[in-house]
């Protein structure tokens, strides 16, 4: 099989994931796009491993091993990521990442009122909306 097929497919999938990461508003959709990018890399790893196991007689199967590791790490990542998204959603009432603009210029540090009730947090949200 022509090596370009899986390689091009992987490249396209990666860029699709890239678009998703950059364009999606919901944090969980961003996580899905990250999964797409990871899978594109996995496809590359498998394809090149299969190619090299014949062409270069490579017997370590490092590509497949790395794919397995990537899958495992992706699973861990999705767990942690979802936990973070849930925590953010619980604290801020939203999981839209373009509203999480605490690093914006001119934004008051939320740590000062972290233990207050939710009025300052909403203030921050309003400010983020105003700047958006």
């Amino acid at each position: 099989m022509h090596l370009a097929y899986p390689a091009v497919l992987a490249a396209l999938l990666f860029c699709t994931g890239l678009y998703g990461v950059l364009a999606r508003r919901n944090a969980i959709l961003v996580l899905m796009s990250v999964e797409l990018m990871l899978n594109a890399v996995n496809l590359n790893l498998v394809a090149f491993d299969v190619w090299l196991s014949r062409a270069a007689e490579e017997t370590l199967h490092s590509g497949q091993a790395l794919t397995l590791f990537t899958i495992a790490i992706a699973a861990a990542e999705i767990g942690i990521g979802l936990a973070i998204v849930l925590a953010v959603h619980r604290n801020r009432g939203t999981s839209d990442i373009d509203r999480l603009r605490d690093t914006a210029e001119g934004h008051e540090s939320p740590t000062a009122d972290g233990h207050d009730n939710d009025a300052p947090t909403i203030d921050g949200t309003e400010k983020a909306e105003a700047t958006a």
Binding site: L22, A23, D98, R101, D102, T103, A104, E105, T131, A132
Partner: protein, 664 residues
């Protein structure tokens, strides 16, 4: 000790005294007066010993080179001939008198320590100029004198007159010093050395390539330092300084330096006929102009200042006719009687509480209050007016004799035109000198009106030195005119009969005319009351003088003249008086020629700085600020935007790297 060692000590002692005075002035006020007087007194003794040892024989030359300084070596050199030895004695003597006088004059002055130290430094610089055999070392002393005169003239810096005068003195002398420096460089380049002996050797063998240029450049510096036309305007204004400083500047140090310098390097000037003619014209204009101006001044010190300019004109005139012996002879006698005149004037100002002759002419019995000043000043004024047998007569006659010598065909040193010019101008000036000396004496000591206030006896330190200086004023000329040629070039300094008779005649005529005018106007004195006296007659002399100077312009309308119809000078000069009082509008000319263009240039520069340069500066500041605002607007806090920009950059970089790697 060898003569060389002693000679080194002469400038060194006042310098050390100045340094110690500056260091100890605040911490140990008790040492200030001894530190001011003793070093200069010792220097006087040492200078006298050096003069005796030198004795007018071959010059003492010594030189050491501290370090190589490029193509033309600079050496610490001594060159002591008869001129140097005698001038140094005069400088030390006047400086000693001034220091002693100052202890009384500035008795209560809080700035006396720095004042005394600066006077010592001033003296030390002049002695360096006198003794040195190297032109660059001479220049060091020359410039140190300039800065010292700046500080000392501005001693009463609380008054605006003193501030303006000190800056003017500094700037005007600097105006001459710049060409002077260039002239020194040109001279040293032509001669291949800064040593005076080598320069004179080169000149003797005709080795100067540009004699006229060099001489004219040097003349500019001399005119600035010695207050010759057209750079003399700083000297009358420098009267805003304390009187002892005026005495020091006029009698011994600053203004004598220029004449002394020309006397030392006279062969350089003689190499150029044009320079000698310029020198003669300069001297003639200075002499006559200053005489007329002196007749119109109201401030007693300004009269003396213009008289100094005139007497310096005599000295440069003698140099212009190639007789440096006569020039230095007049320098010596003038140093004595002019120092005396200033110190006595200081006593009179203190006693009268004013520096205005118009006010003094309305006080009776002023001479009874200050008998020492009266008698010594009479002696000094007679010397100034060149009445025999006072010393001024002999020295002035030697100048006139030298000029007459040139006019009679002995023109190997100087052009005949210069001789005639100096002779005629000198005789006119003799007339004027006698006139203003008589006017000064009559107005100061023959006043009519209220009695002068009695402030008790003047301090002994201020009166004793008057008598000390009166001795050479009276007798130096008569005793020395036979022996001095041995110390100098050997030219005869004996008064010639013709010039003596004519000179004394015109001097007597000037005095008599002035006396007649004064008698004629006596009645007017009582009719027009005028005058103002110091508010603190119990203060020390310096305070009285500072107040007198500060109140002259408000009281009389001008720092120089007073609207006194009883002034004989006003009658004698007629319509000329108005112009003479302001120094023939030379200040206005300078104002138009130099000050206005410089101020216009300054405002132009300020405009350029504010509007043009600052615009660039502001622009340089605004661009980053706008950039900062733009960058700040980019900080939206949206992580996706950040990552987009990051990845876009990554793509661009990757494509660029690929293109480079694939050789595209």
């Amino acid at each position: 000790m060898t003569t060389t060692t002693l000679a080194v000590l002469v400038p060194l002692l006042p310098f050390l005294g100045a340094a110690a005075g500056l260091l100890l002035g605040r911490t140990a006020p008790g040492f200030v007066r001894p530190l001011a007087v003793l070093p200069i007194l010792t220097a006087l003794v040492v200078a006298a010993v050096v003069a005796v040892r030198q004795g007018g024989d071959a010059a003492v030359d010594a030189a050491t080179e501290l370090t190589p300084t490029g193509s033309v070596p600079i050496e610490l050199a001594l060159h002591i001939d008869g001129f140097a030895a005698l001038v140094a004695v005069l400088v030390c003597m006047v400086a000693t008198c001034v220091q002693i006088y100052s202890t009384g004059y500035l008795r209560d002055d809080p700035r006396y320590p720095s004042y005394a130290a600066l006077v010592s430094l001033f003296t030390s610089a002049m002695l360096l100029v006198v003794y040195t055999g190297d032109l660059i070392v001479l220049l060091v002393g020359w410039e140190v004198m300039g800065i010292c005169s700046y500080f000392l003239v501005g001693h009463y810096w609380e008054t605006p007159e003193a501030r303006a005068a000190s800056i003017k003195a500094f700037l005007v002398t600097k105006l001459g010093d710049v060409p002077f420096l260039l002239g020194l460089f040109a001279l040293a380049t032509d001669a291949g050395s800064f040593r005076i002996t080598k320069v004179l050797d080169t000149v003797a063998h005709g080795g100067l390539d540009h004699p006229t240029l060099i001489a004219l450049l040097l003349l500019a510096g001399v005119a600035g330092k010695s207050a010759q036309f057209p750079l003399h305007t700083w000297l009358p204004d420098a009267m805003a300084g304390p009187t002892p400083v005026s005495a020091l500047i006029h009698a011994a140090t600053m203004v004598a330096a220029g004449v002394y310098f020309v006397a030392r390097l006279l062969p350089v000037f003689e190499a150029s006929q044009a320079a000698m003619v310029v020198l003669a014209v300069m001297a003639a204009v200075t002499m006559v102009g200053s005489g007329v101006a002196a007749l119109a001044q109201d401030d007693i010190k300004r009269v003396l200042a213009y008289s100094t300019i005139g007497q310096l004109g005599y000295m440069t005139g003698a140099l212009a006719v190639g007789d440096r012996g006569a020039a230095v002879f007049h320098l010596l006698s003038h140093g004595a009687f002019k120092g005396l005149l200033f110190l006595a004037a200081g006593v009179i100002i203190h006693a009268a509480g004013t520096n205005s002759l118009a006010a003094m002419s309305r006080m009776s019995h002023l001479r009874d209050r200050v008998p020492d000043a009266f008698w010594t000043m009479t002696v000094a004024l007679l010397a100034l007016a060149a009445i025999p047998p006072f010393s001024g007569f002999f020295s002035k006659e030697s100048v006139l004799g030298a000029a007459e010598h040139v006019t009679t065909g002995h023109t190997e040193h100087a052009p005949g035109a210069a001789g005639w010019l100096i002779l005629v101008a000198g005789l006119i000036t003799a007339l004027l000198t006698a006139a203003y000396a008589t006017r000064l004496w009559l107005l100061a000591f023959r006043g009519r009106g209220a009695e002068a206030p009695d402030h008790g006896r003047q301090p002994r330190s201020m009166t004793v030195v008057l008598w000390v200086l009166a001795v050479p004023s009276l007798a130096l000329g008569g005793l020395a005119y036979r022996t001095l040629p041995d110390w100098f070039d050997g030219n005869d300094l004996t008064p010639a009969l013709t010039t003596s008779v004519i000179g004394t005649g015109v001097a007597l005529a000037g005095g008599l005319v002035t006396y007649a005018a004064w008698r004629h106007l006596t009645a007017l004195t009582a009719v027009t009351p005028i005058g103002a006296v110091a508010a603190h007659p119990e203060g020390d002399a310096a305070q009285v003088e500072a107040e007198a100077i500060a109140t002259h312009a408000p009281a009389y309308g001008d720092v120089a003249s007073a609207p006194d119809p009883a002034d004989p000078g006003r009658l004698l000069l007629g319509p000329l008086h108005r112009h003479a009082a302001v120094g023939f509008h030379l200040d206005a000319v300078y104002q138009a020629l130099f000050v206005r263009p410089v101020q216009a240039g300054a405002s132009l520069v300020r405009f350029l700085d504010r509007e043009v340069v600052d615009t660039y500066v502001r622009g340089a500041g605004a661009l980053p600020r706008w950039l900062g605002i733009a960058v700040r607007r980019a900080q939206t806090g949206n992580v996706q935007t950040y990552v987009s920009a990051l990845l876009a950059g990554t793509v661009v970089l990757a494509v660029a790297a690929l293109l480079v790697a694939s050789g595209a």
